[in-house]
């Protein structure tokens, strides 16, 4: 028993656990909108894009890497949105060009100049070590911002996610909502980057939301389930990574994937579909003539 509780004696582990749980919750929460909008690939692309900003900013002002990478990510998100809407390029092509170029730049800068902050491997796969109080504060602030955004814009978000065209007609500024969501997504990826890593953060955007969708047909409950599954994945993944001695991000994603497999195996049985009967109808007796 003492052995199981051993890591809780270290303050760095308690902080890492807090950050992992909160990161999972935040990504699970935002991931619902990303998955339902069919934007899973944008989460994947944005995390890679932010890596480029992360590396570039460290060259010039390592202490401001959060701010710099955040701006880089927001700029990438808005560029993807703009290119997709204003050109013949599809979203997947725009994401492919913008984010992979940014990621390649990040790799090149890391390889050429190294880093004064987190290691290359930590940035890619997450790390249990080196979580600063500033990062915790940053994550808490972004989480509060995300919750406030969803709370205050719930109907507009729901409507524009379900039926953007009719939402637009009904007076909701769909483009503005999308841009705001992109900004929140960028900040969320950035805030969770050090624990989960850029290559794995997209998985935590998708897995909890997909599992939650299998568990409920209600949007509100899907938000709650996804947040909960993200939290559990973060906490359990971080805990196991301590013993397994592997990057925290990999174990968090593996726990999420295990939950997915279990739910996937059983979800089919619980789903029922109903169809209502159709009303009867009697046609009148015809009397017909030709119109010339």
């Amino acid at each position: 028993m003492d052995q199981l509780l051993e890591p809780f004696g270290y303050i760095f582990f308690r902080e890492a656990l807090l950050v992992a749980g909160l990161s999972g919750a935040l990504l699970g929460f935002i991931g619902v909108f990303i998955v339902l909008r069919g934007m899973s690939y944008i989460g994947h692309g944005l995390s890679h894009s932010i890596f480029g900003g992360f590396a570039a900013v460290q060259l010039f002002a390592a202490q401001f890497y959060v701010l710099g990478a955040g701006l880089w990510g927001i700029a990438s998100a808005l560029a993807i949105n703009t290119v997709t809407k204003r050109s013949r390029l599809g979203a997947d092509a725009a994401i492919g060009v913008i984010t992979t170029a940014s990621f390649a730049l990040g790799v090149a800068l890391f390889a050429r100049f190294g880093t004064s902050g987190p290691s290359f491997e930590s940035a890619l796969f997450g790390s249990i070590l080196g979580i600063s109080p500033e990062q915790i504060l940053w994550l808490v602030l972004v989480s509060l911002l995300a919750v406030a955004f969803v709370f205050l814009r719930y109907r507009a978000l729901l409507f524009s996610t379900f039926d953007p065209e009719v939402a637009d007609v009904s007076g909701i500024r769909v483009n503005r909502i999308e841009a705001q969501l992109m900004v929140i997504l960028s900040l969320s990826i950035l805030a969770t980057l050090t624990v989960i890593g850029v290559t794995l953060v997209a998985a935590m955007l998708v897995i909890p939301a997909v599992v939650a969708r299998m568990l409920t047909d209600s949007f509100g409950r899907m938000l709650a389930w996804s947040t909960g599954i993200g939290t559990v994945s973060g906490l359990v993944g971080m805990y196991v990574s301590y013993y397994a001695d592997v990057p925290s991000g990999t174990m968090i994603v593996l726990v999420g994937a295990a939950i997915f497999l279990v739910v996937f195996a059983f979800a089919g049985r619980s789903r029922r579909r109903r169809s209502a009967g159709l009303d009867s109808h009697v046609e009148p007796v015809p009397t017909t003539s030709v119109v010339r």
Binding site: V150, R155, F162, G220, R274, A276, L278, T288, V290, V291
Partner: protein, 264 residues
């Protein structure tokens, strides 16, 4: 297209050209939508029916010409059922409530509905006969119930003008009749209605006013004025025979000589 031209004018299109990118789909459209309107827009696929509807909604902007809309006009839209993501995790009640009847409701700072909003949503669902389905996920509805749900969402906005894109596409005869009767009731309550339809016999012939569209307005008027072989040939590019049936026009394809008659 002017309908019967009674009641206040809601929307006026003057010499409008519209399309997508740089390619116009509609040319020289003049349209006056009045409060008493109950109009079906008919035409072949790709003729610009939906584009005309989207012009009225403001989704498509005119390339040339002008559109004048009554200030504060409340418009509601019922999309084609085929365009909806039925796997979206949402219940009938949530779907109705999401639209909000005013900008104030949509900007409300708490996510849950007030008692007044819930009561109003219940009343709308009851009017359409689907109040018992309020907590069902939308995929669990039949085609007719899905159509009623979107009508409920539209009515929840208390619209002056209701636009529907192919409301009877893919539904059975019974549902088609139900939808027609519902729309007639709404029109009697003072809601202007414009819909697109492919269905000349099941839908268009029952409406008081029709507009035939094929990249421009070919003809408009009552079914008796519009459902004529020469107008239909201009609109659909195919010869059709028109029969008189219980005082209504019925369109049948002109039977080509090489078609075989099916033996009973």
């Amino acid at each position: 297209m002017t309908g019967t031209g009674v009641g206040p004018e809601l929307i006026r299109l003057t010499d409008v050209e519209a399309g997508y990118g740089h390619e116009p789909v509609l040319h020289s459209v003049d349209l006056h939508v009045h409060q008493d309107q109950f109009t079906g827009i008919v035409g072949p696929s790709g003729s610009g029916k939906t584009t005309l509807l989207r012009l009225l909604l403001g989704i498509v902007k005119p390339m040339s010409g002008t559109i004048t809309t009554q200030p504060g006009l409340r418009t509601a839209y019922v999309p084609q059922l085929e365009t909806v993501n039925w796997d979206f995790p949402i219940t009938v009640r949530e779907c109705v409530l999401m639209s909000g009847s005013s900008a104030r409701e949509q900007r409300r700072i708490w996510p849950w509905a007030s008692a007044e909003e819930n009561d109003r949503a219940h009343a709308v669902l009851a009017r359409l006969g689907i109040e018992a389905l309020a907590d069902r996920q939308i995929r669990q509805l039949s085609g007719g119930q899905q159509q009623r749900m979107f009508l409920a969402r539209a009515l929840y906005r208390r619209p002056q003008l209701l636009l529907l894109d192919e409301p009877t596409s893919g539904v059975d005869v019974s549902t088609r009749h139900d939808v027609l009767h519902l729309l007639a009731d709404l029109h009697a309550d003072g809601v202007a209605i414009i819909l697109t339809t492919h269905d000349l016999n099941g839908m268009a012939a029952h409406l008081p006013h029709l507009v035939c569209v094929n990249h421009r307005v070919i003809a408009d008027g009552t079914p008796e004025q519009v459902i004529r072989p020469e107008v239909l040939e201009q609109t659909f590019g195919a010869r059709m025979e028109v029969l008189e049936h219980l005082g209504m026009r019925v369109v049948v394809d002109e039977r080509p000589e090489h078609f075989m008659r099916v033996q009973p």
